[in-house]
Assembly symmetry: C3
Homo-oligomer: 359 residues x 3
């Protein structure tokens, strides 16, 4: 077995904040159930949007700005499936075309006046928008595994963070912080054991598998997997903004937490979490327990991410020191940067990297 030397890189960055803006990707704007009889305002990648459901039930997303006098369309109303501006009553159909200009004697030819539109796909109970208004998307949004599959229990939650996308993604896929930020819930120091983490680059992301990991000693693990001695544990990043944690307890039981993060702005994340599990006890019993644990964990992380984000902005940029056990952070940043520049490279062969870590 190769002996690891503590490997410390110099600070990666100085006076720079790790923000990547990936526009040619899908992001969740809201949950499907939120689109009812009123227009809904959401901000994605710093872009203010208005979402509404047209007469045919299809969801649409426009820039939240009337092309006439720039009032937010989200402050208007839906009339017969048209989105009506509250200032002069201009009406837009689901394609963005203006269908009425009250007071104007001749109705303008179709499509002469148009709201700026964003591509929309509704899937898995979410309304996804494509971050680039001018491009025709050639991909579909991410599909959450096992959602509504027989034997699985699934539900959705929404959390709001103050954080960069990178910091929030690293946080979800980072193991060492759990003993401190979630003291008692996951792991605690006296019972550490050395295991191996295998890092694998994947076409659209990167994955860590923890080999021979004992069941974490904390409360959370004891409740969720009371009988399991060993677990299979994977942390994954999937472009552009998904962090996923998977636990498998033996052959039959599993817990998958997928966090699809929408950057509201460079420093705010709307986190849409999908939890899917098959555990020993029935779903109706496990669900409130898992829900409570997840909620506790995410609120603890949100506090740390907010403190980190505020401090980095206070210092005018981050200055990080990275060790070997910061397993995915640097990889995620590299991929985000490459994707932002449209230069995401697929390595010729995906090799594994093995790191020892105390958990």
């Amino acid at each position: 077995m190769e002996v690891q030397k503590p490997h410390l890189t110099l600070p990666l960055t100085k006076s720079h904040i790790s923000v990547a803006r990936l526009t040619n990707y899908w992001y969740i704007a809201c949950q499907s159930k939120e689109l009812r009889d009123k227009p809904v305002a959401r901000t994605v990648l710093g872009i203010p949007l208005v979402l509404f459901r047209g007469a045919d039930g299809k969801a649409s997303a426009f820039l939240d700005r009337c092309p006439h006098r720039n009032i937010p369309l989200s402050q208007g109303r839906i009339v017969d499936g048209y989105l009506e501006c509250g200032y002069h009553g201009w009406q837009f159909d689901g394609s963005g075309a203006c269908q009425a200009v009250p007071g104007l004697c001749s109705i303008p030819e179709n499509n002469r006046i148009k709201a700026s539109t964003y591509s929309v796909v509704e899937q898995d109970g979410f309304v996804w928008i494509f971050g680039n208004p001018d491009a025709e998307p050639t991909t579909l949004p991410y599909q959450f595994p096992n959602v509504n599959e027989n034997g699985y229990t699934t539900w959705r939650e929404e959390f709001c963070y103050e954080s960069t996308l990178l910091a929030a993604l690293e946080n979800v896929t980072d193991v060492p912080h759990t003993a401190f930020v979630h003291r008692g819930l996951f792991r605690s120091e006296p019972k550490r054991k050395q295991i191996t983490a295998v890092i694998r680059r994947q076409p659209n992301g990167v994955e860590t598998e923890y080999v021979d990991e004992p069941r974490p000693s904390g409360l959370a693990a004891r409740i969720i997997a009371p009988g399991a001695a060993e677990v299979s544990h994977f942390d994954r990043f999937i472009l552009p903004s998904i962090a996923q944690v998977e636990y498998q307890f033996g052959k039959n039981y599993s817990l998958l937490v997928t966090q699809a993060m929408t950057p509201v702005s460079d420093f705010h994340i709307q986190n849409f979490v999908v939890v899917t599990f098959r555990l020993g006890l029935p779903g109706w019993l496990m669900r409130p327990i898992v829900k409570l644990l997840l909620s506790s964990i995410i609120h603890q992380d949100a506090l740390v991410l907010k403190a980190q984000s505020e401090n980095i902005r206070r210092f005018g940029g981050e200055q990080f020191m990275t060790t070997d056990i910061d397993l995915l952070g640097s990889q995620i940043w590299l991929m985000l940067q490459q994707a932002e520049r449209g230069e995401l490279r697929q390595p010729k062969e995906f090799t594994e990297k093995r790191i020892h870590i105390h958990v």
Copy 2:
């Protein structure tokens, strides 16, 4: 009759906010009745001012900054008609000359120390200041028509907006929005009729006359002019910042609402409104009714203007699409820009432009 085609101009502006700063004009700083025994702080065109009444009763306006250590003079007090700074007790007379420096053994020669002063005229119950401290005004402030004239009822109100000057001026002189922002008060859609609007450039402004306009169908019109079938209706812009709406009901009755807007800053307006009317019923009866209607209308407009202003700033500038029935907005902007550059051109002949509009 010429047939109108719907005329849509491309967005006039991109990433620009329509702000003009006209300094060589008079603006209302406050109402006369506000200047009593304490200095008064007001901001005009972004300039912090202190106003006070000297020993002779004359109003004065200085930059709100003591020339000594730059404390706001408005936080001082008036002593024997002098404005006294609260930090070291320096005293200034109405001309701005410093008349006392406590502690200094020799009194400084007159006028060696001076506060920065602004020209003041008191007229019609308002204290007007000239926006340029270095220029000698060659004009007088606007005179409100029929104020205190026999048979007319007049009163003054003050409102505060979050808006650019241009947006607030356009709003007052715009008819199409009334059916939406003031739904029910003015006009309602089912009863629209096509009429003609005549736009006339004037030496210091621009006017729209609505020809053959039926009495608006809403509540406001029914209360104010119960017997009138037709009205003469004028919307006017008068440089630099006055918007005026005039209704004439037959030969004897009229309602004139003049809104003299003071830009507190680029995005805040202090609106001094003078209402003068002669209506069928006595003034003491009509006044509370008109007051209530006016207040409702202006508060509805203030909400729209705030939403518009915030959205334009959020997007980093406006991007407007204009149709033929946006009658005065473009004209006002053109005149504000010309006046700001000192290049206000008087056309050789003032021609009329006729537009059809559904009201």
Copy 3:
């Protein structure tokens, strides 16, 4: 006796705010008693610091940023005399060296990971830090005179101002404002008398001695020195940020108020005040009286300084007019500027300047 003409200089500055940043000096970060079992966050010269007491009781100060992921270390905890970061549990000893990276299999060699440290000296009940992290201090912090000396009563207070350092220093050493800002407490106008102020440049500061000053007529003076007819009164500035007022009543009694100001930022001051006195009445009786008077005076000054600071920033810079009786302000500004540039010049001989002033 030389006759003074009122001497008015032109405004010293235009569109400039009098801010000097002197890093090669000692500043008080906090009181000694504040460093107990939790890390303490303080900002000095705009630099966020964390302070804590190590296992040996010695105080340390680091940049308030974990070198790993830049969380504020002040949000961590002290474990066995080490400062532990709350995110991943990295532990730092008093020298800044990282002694533990939980999860990492091989402990990093000593000092490979280090927090950024600031020199600390604990003295007179205060924790002083040196403003330059890279320099080795060759001086010691200022020592407060007579602290804990027999026959003297001493105590410490802490006040927070919104002010530039210059404005706060000038305010303490300025006599003319006392008749206005502290009307009734110090002096009142009808009883003014002409005296002589002697200004003396000193190696690290500048001093004014007021010659033949009668005991001030206000309440404060009558309580503190009921029997004294004349007082010796000195106002002093000591680099980089100390303002000192000394009153001597006859041979035996004295009152010394030393205000050691720490610029939290360019516009905020944390003022550590040390009061030391020997007065006719016993300390236990005088202390609450002096305490109340001091607190009243400082709160009145804080209001003026806040108004001044806000106004200067509102106008984009100060524009001061200075007379002969602004005794120390210009001198302080000159020394601060020279010290900031590292060009503090010692004049060949320290001459006195005599000014007449009405007090």
